[in-house]
Subunit: 259 residues, 2 copies
DNA sequence: CGTTTTTTTGAGCACTATCAACAAGTGTGG
DNA sequence: CCACACTTGTTGATAGTGCTCAAAAAAACG
């Protein structure tokens, strides 16, 4: 309904690392050949800019294409009738969104930008072309989906069986690891565009309570959050609190910088 | 460690519906051709029987093959150090389990039989053979995975944002719909092999509390559970309590008997 | 600088967990 | 067919985690 949710324009100044983020991920995964790489680059050539808090995909509306995130963070959300919201997944640069929509006539969840984002749209036809003509890419896609399922499973455990402090701590640990793997970390620091309300919607808690939990984690000198940046001060300790085990985070994605 | 968790023997007397369950699902989905169907049948010819409560896949141990459930119900679980357990997914006849294991050296979750089950093992080689030689089957597999992701997302919402009564009600609604689609329903009734402890582990609640919730649902004449059978007495009312929307349950799987 | 978003704080209470004990099933072997 | 063991379901009293509902303070934004 809001036509202006997305604006078609070139990204202002994409950093080299981000442009080939996806190809990078696939490459480390499979060692792409020249043709595969070139096709992938071609598909992701054009870009779309999305402003923070804008919706790229809207729950309940049809969505015929997918998007590859070139830069920025997004979340997929579902809204209940009474207004409460659950964040289903957090998507980082290199992730693909909207695949799930391909098999449903209407999107089951919304996709919202946390930061300014640039994405490459991919039509259903282009996507199916890749599936048909580049079987190895199709396999890689499949593996990415499986990896995402593993993360979802971990979220189920988090939501179902951990109390608030471990629950929040686990989210932070996971994001740290995932961001790190994508080369977004800078010495224990990662960008952290989530508001406390977002954290609450990830963890199934209230904003007010999340605030208290974060204070607690800060008081114990485990983390620091300022200027939309998360610093994990004591990885081992935070991991201990969270009951975190990193084994579900993609192991095959190479060690992109010591994480 | 327990070698006797599985026993290699023929199923006692498989009902026709179950044998071709998988082919059935795929068929409705894509209209398989003769070769595809025959290959699928061939792959799922041999069977393995599993006793109730036995583990087919054990968390932390390597798992090189997958299994297609021909009959019976299973659950995938993750266990925390303190013994608490979260059920991640419920698997019905026709589901494939262990795909996630393919991309990890060790299984991230256990798979436990709720009832006596029969499954067809599929080696990694056979699986990759299907992927390579039957692209349409590969696509179908991919779509099944996406469908499972949609269910996982719904579980996240359930665990994160619904209080106990809607939460349990939602689980029951989902199982009813899913079972119905697989032709397991018999006029508002479905088999219900979950104990209250299992329900608790699905919903992140305590056994004691689940007991009270179920009493409440019975008191309101919404459901009845006896003899391992769930009867939904008032579908609309239960769906209302649950905040259930069926749109995430596979729509493309045909209407297998009015559900 | 005013406006909006985000973070922080307080008091009270509701929902759900805990723990323990008991009842009712279920299955097994004698 | 009964006796026994074990699993599953049920109940009660109590504690505690996390929610509600403001409202204020601080930060971000244009």
């Amino acid at each position: 309904m809001d036509e202006s949710t997305i604006a078609e324009k070139e990204p202002e100044g994409p950093r080299p690392l981000e442009v080939s983020q996806l190809a990078g991920a696939f490459d480390r995964l499979f060692g792409l050949d020249e043709g595969e790489r070139r096709h992938l680059e071609a598909c992701t050539a054009n870009a779309l800019a999305i402003e923070p808090r804008r919706k790229l995909i809207v729950e309940g509306e049809p969505c015929g294409r997918l998007y590859i995130i070139k830069s920025g963070w997004m979340v997929e959300t579902r809204q209940l009738r009474d207004g409460r919201r659950q964040i289903l997944t957090i998507r980082l640069p290199g992730d693909i969104i909207g695949i799930g929509c391909l098999s449903y006539p209407k999107a089951l969840q919304s996709t919202v930008a946390l930061t300014r984002c640039t994405v490459s749209p991919l039509s259903r036809e282009e996507f199916e072309g890749i599936q048909r003509n580049f079987p190895r890419l199709a396999t890689a896609l499949f593996l990415m989906t499986l990896h995402e399922s593993a993360i979802l499973h971990e979220w189920e455990v988090n939501l179902g069986r951990r109390v608030a402090i471990p629950r929040v701590a686990h989210l932070l640990m996971e994001l740290h690891y995932r961001a790190c793997r994508r080369g977004l970390a800078d010495g224990g620091q990662i960008p952290f565009p989530l508001t406390q309300e977002d954290v609450a919607d990830c963890t199934g808690l209230t904003t007010a309570y999340v605030n208290r939990i974060l204070q607690e984690l800060r008081r114990k000198d485990l983390i620091r959050i300022d200027d939309r940046t998360l610093t994990v001060l004591d990885m081992a300790a935070l991991g201990g609190v969270a009951g975190f085990r990193k084994d579900y985070i993609a192991h095959w994605q190479g060690q992109g910088g010591g994480c």
